[in-house]
């Protein structure tokens, strides 16, 4: 009898595709009841995925539905319809929460506990105990810069220090996925730099990062990809390198009669009669310089301009910068 060959799938099944996602939302709708009793839709048919190992920024104006989406992912609220999976499990399940670290948007920690006691409490709820918990707590407090304040009560700490407590607690138990809501809130520039380094280190160790932030400069420094939502709908999903490339342009000021129409996006003549052309790529700029020189013209100025993520964000939202 000829043994059966194992069945080799010709293409990835939906299940296998989902397996590579740390977060997978499909057609998510979130509704609240307003005080007058009318339903208000905070999230409308949101679908997106975050692959394992990615760093994804979740952007949008106030009231766009970011926090509502993150609350669904953590199981704090139930979606009206649609599905949300976190690390292959239903969002909010014990299984998904045991592998996820979460930093709330505005977190308050018990005012009469110390950062050490706070982390010990969350660690015990995470299933950690004994010496391992104690060591991890000390290590995390040191890592977020709270070593000297570990015995002060939380009520005596500044907003930035409390945010550090929050960041430390989200890292307890070495989670596979970090969901951070307004992660840089309250942190000073030094704190932000330390946080960036910490998050990048965690990502290198394999942790997936999904976070919302209004600090777009921070997002552009750390993210692989961004998702922009507005009025509960996904309006843009872009690789950050592509966005940066699309935002960079080079300005060449020259004189002389040179045809650059096939290379440039736009031209204008300045007050002294020089031509100014802008180019989307460095290659086009170099080609243009060569042509100007060959045709006997003279390059008078070269400027490289890098648009910001803020420009892209505002443009995407249709707001004049």
């Amino acid at each position: 009898m000829v043994p059966k060959k194992p069945k080799v799938p010709s293409q990835l099944s939906d299940y296998q595709i989902r397996m590579s996602f740390a977060i997978n939302c499909q057609g998510l709708h979130v509704r609240y009841r307003s005080k007058s009793g009318k339903p208000v839709e905070a999230v409308s048919g949101l679908s997106f995925g975050v692959e394992k190992g990615e760093i994804v920024g979740f952007l949008g104006p106030n009231g766009a539905g970011k926090s509502s989406t993150l609350k669904v992912l953590m199981g704090f609220i139930e979606p009206y319809s649609g599905s949300a999976k976190v690390l292959e499990s239903e969002s909010g399940s014990i299984e998904s929460r045991s592998r996820t670290g979460y930093l709330p948007e505005v977190a308050m920690y018990y005012p009469f506990l110390t950062p050490f006691e706070t982390l010990t409490l969350y660690g015990e709820l995470q299933g950690l105990k004994g010496k391992a918990l104690r060591n991890e707590t000390f290590e995390l407090l040191e890592r977020v810069g709270l070593k000297g304040s570990q015995k002060k009560q939380n009520r005596t700490l500044s907003k930035g220090m409390l945010q550090r407590v929050g960041i430390a607690q989200s890292l307890l138990g070495n989670p596979e996925l970090l969901i951070l809501d307004e992660v840089t809130s309250g942190l000073d520039p030094i704190g932000r730099r330390e946080l960036r380094a910490l998050l990048q280190e965690k990502n290198k160790q394999g942790t997936t990062l999904f976070f919302s932030s209004h600090e777009l400069s921070e997002v552009s420094r750390i993210c692989d990809r961004i998702l922009i939502i507005d009025k509960g709908k996904l309006i843009a999903e872009r690789n950050l390198k592509e966005v940066e490339a699309s935002l960079s342009k080079y300005l060449l000021t020259y004189n002389g009669e040179t045809s650059l129409f096939d290379l440039s996006m736009e031209f204008e003549e300045d007050e002294s009669g020089n031509m100014r052309a802008s180019f989307a790529t460095k290659d086009a700029l170099i080609e243009a310089i060569d042509r100007v020189k060959i045709s006997g013209g003279k390059v008078t100025d070269i400027v490289a301009e890098q648009g910001s993520l803020e420009d892209y964000f505002l443009e995407t939202l249709g707001v004049a910068a």
């Binding site: 953590m74 979460y102 977190a107 015990e124 709820l125």
Partner: protein, 258 residues
């Protein structure tokens, strides 16, 4: 085992917060001042002071420990939501029932600690006034502590459905007025046999905290102990009623958007 650790961690957090917030100490000081004022009467030579001091001491103990138990449990859940301390807790692999139960245990622990503290002060004061120790005082304390479990479960259940202020007020009204209400309901049931089932049902729904108060019995000298089966029956009632109240809280809290 894992659940035990979760409940322990949550309960310890509640106790630590409460002790450092100094709620317990304020009540203890108030209790002490009230009892000491009884001592002042003795200074002026009132007769029968022993009995009076004992009655006053046990009443103070009963009232203050109940008030503290109500405050500890009725504010807990709404405060967690209002202060947003709930989010990092429920982001952990903890079910909402475990969260609720751990907090309930914390409230019970706080009320027991404050009761013990007050009881120690009352005991010192009573022995100073020359009151002799009787075994029924121990039985009084055990029953009172069981009653506090009931108080915590009842207040927590109300707080899951009402605002903190409403839950606290209603808890205090129903707990302190329960004996009066039960008497009224019994009279009403006797007065109109057709509606007796309704009055009986309502009285069964109310927490019978009066059953746990052996204060009157303990005040009088040389009264015998309550039989052990009665204490066991009270423990059974406490377990059933508290489980029902916790289930009632969980029914609301388990799907609540936070």
């Amino acid at each position: 085992m894992k659940k035990l650790l979760i409940w322990k961690a949550l309960a310890r957090g509640v106790v630590l917060e409460s002790v450092r917030r100094k709620d317990i100490w304020v009540v203890a000081i108030l209790g002490l001042l009230t009892i000491l004022s009884a001592g002042a009467l003795g200074f002026f030579g009132f007769s029968g002071l022993e009995l009076f001091a004992k009655d006053l001491g046990l009443t103070v103990l009963s009232i203050f420990s109940t008030v503290l138990a109500v405050l500890a449990s009725s504010r807990m859940l709404p405060d967690e939501i209002k202060n947003r301390t709930l989010y990092p807790l429920l982001a952990r692999p903890v079910s909402r029932f475990d969260f609720l139960f751990g907090k309930f245990l914390g409230a019970v622990a706080v009320s027991w600690i404050s009761f013990s503290l007050l009881a120690a002060m009352v005991a010192i004061a009573l022995f100073t006034f020359g009151v002799t120790f009787e075994l029924i005082l121990i039985q009084y304390a055990i029953c009172k502590m069981m009653g506090l479990v009931l108080v915590c479960a009842f207040s927590l259940a109300l707080s899951a459905y009402l605002t903190p202020a409403a839950a606290t007020t209603l808890s205090l009204v129903l707990l302190f007025g329960s004996s009066m209400m039960l008497r009224g309901l019994t009279m009403a049931a006797l007065g109109s046999p057709d509606l007796a089932w309704l009055y009986t049902s309502v009285s069964n729904l109310l927490p019978q905290v009066g059953l746990f108060d052996l204060g009157s019995r303990a005040t009088n000298q040389n009264w015998t102990l309550v039989p052990a089966w009665v204490v066991l029956a009270l423990a059974g009632y406490m377990a059933i009623y508290s489980t029902a109240m916790l289930t009632f809280s969980w029914a609301k809290f388990r799907r609540r958007a936070i």
